[in-house]
Symmetry: C2
Amino acid sequence: MKTILLKRQLFICVLLFSTCFSLFAQDIVYTDATNLNLIGKANSIPHYYHRVDTAKYNDMPLNVKKLFTNSAGLAITFKTNSNIITARWSTVSSKTGSNMTAIANKGLDLYIKRDGKWIFAGVGRPTENFTTAKIVENMQDGEKECLLYLPLYDEVKNLEIGVAKGSIIESLESPFRKKVVIYGSSILQGASACRPGMAYPARMARKTGVNFINLGLSGNGRMEASVTNMIADIEAEAYILDCAPNPSPEEITQRTGYLVNTIRKHHPKAPIVMIQSVVRESGNFDMKVKERVAAQNRNFKIEFEKLKSAGVDDLYYIEGDLLGSDHEGTTDGIHPNDIGFDRMLNIIEPIVIDILNKYGI
Amino acid sequence: MKTILLKRQLFICVLLFSTCFSLFAQDIVYTDATNLNLIGKANSIPHYYHRVDTAKYNDMPLNVKKLFTNSAGLAITFKTNSNIITARWSTVSSKTGSNMTAIANKGLDLYIKRDGKWIFAGVGRPTENFTTAKIVENMQDGEKECLLYLPLYDEVKNLEIGVAKGSIIESLESPFRKKVVIYGSSILQGASACRPGMAYPARMARKTGVNFINLGLSGNGRMEASVTNMIADIEAEAYILDCAPNPSPEEITQRTGYLVNTIRKHHPKAPIVMIQSVVRESGNFDMKVKERVAAQNRNFKIEFEKLKSAGVDDLYYIEGDLLGSDHEGTTDGIHPNDIGFDRMLNIIEPIVIDILNKYGI
């Protein structure tokens, strides 16, 4: 009986082994991504794929701490001469929201440089929380500079990048210069961009070459004092505050001053840019939603004016029809779809770049 | 012991009952959507939420028959003076693809008319295969004309629409005139639009007022003879063929002539519009993908030229950089995201409308 069981187990092992090796047409060799270059973190921190080390901020809400373990905005840079790129990765457990694709939530998104531009190359489609997937194959010979975005809404536990046996893979220095922190809500974190590289800080970075750090927090970005202190501790050239969507209008009045003043105190010369909340298209007919967003933006603007009057310099405010005027710019009435993000960037990006240029950033 | 168990069950029942009634702040009365107006079907068919009755097409591939049970392009039109709209609906079982939101796959998408335009009002977020959800609330008083899109990639078994107790809900005649059939692939069916109303035939219908019928078939649209015969049986004013993405280049050569000639035979005067395949952005670096799409489009164009030379009149061909030139127009390298669809429509829509106008459609 024991022998039969052992034989059956051996048979299953052989089957699994064969499946593993027949997944791709070529022999693949894997490299742990911790041996390559990770970009997009707020600062150098112990846990490799977390955005921020929140350990010392005791008062920070637990859900905010958890959200900082999501790898939004993180990417691996490497170069390889392989004609195929695959990946094996595991994420924790987050269920994909109904307004999001699984690729955005827990998938991978690869860009390769061509003629000085980052060009989309392929995605890693997740299957639950452990995936082995081909990202791109049948590529021409030659060295490729690669930028692989990590999941927007999940925590990455492990990531290995696969290339054809016999080809090289090695670390590539960050293609982005300086550091500009953006703090905000789920919209900033990337809901509802279709894939990780389409979150708006990632798009701005590829287009401008500036290293935008994604501190978007789903359902949060409420300017708590503990989070404010953490942001002020980050050494960056500029600070963008896209955090009007989630705090109540009253919280905006109570907290905006402390946020801006604390950043200013720690970084006397850094420009600080406030962005009004995008409209919520669910407020097209829901009058309460419409009024709430209007109140949030009214109070955020009042705080901006108060801070300017109080002598806070190098402070800017961006406003406008960020999602366009046809009301089609969201997935669920709240979070921009890719058209919404496109329109938002058409307004925000030139203003932000003008400001950064003014400061030589 | 038995008494305790019974009491516990009663307690649970009371809890469930209370939960059900406390889901919304108001008392809601439900109307079965079969009592309202269903639009978007290819023809009048027995099963209420299927796009096509495929029963008599014995040779049609089973997976194509199954795909025609998906409610892509179907919508319920109604009017109500309620200030809240909710829904209860059940779908069959389709798992949400990694390139799609659950809202697009099995959710609902509501538009309300304002100043002669259809304006986005809210979504029904699905929870597995049976959902009760609020779509919009806190609306102003007065009658609203409503257009509620059904799931793109699942079969709807049952749908009830809820309004506030004491308000009216009644059928509304179709806001769209004429009938133009579009036949094609997953892209046409709606992958990867963010929600049901963002599939491209739905967007064209809202903008132009023309009744575009969505015959998009995920992984299919391969011009099989049985499907060709079914399409030719549909009485429509025009036929759009967006079916180059899935058949092999050889199948395109073998089958396009039969498709166009069969439609022409049954509908001697109806314009027929062929659309080239969108590029596959996964072919930016995957040379095999790039070559395959080029061959598909080359062969589709050759068939078009042959048909024109053979004297088939009222036949048109649309081509161009349908997804733009920045390579950011897809979710997964294959299916357009909402930017991709936007760019596609900017090219296709004016050409289609010019053609329809020419024929007085």
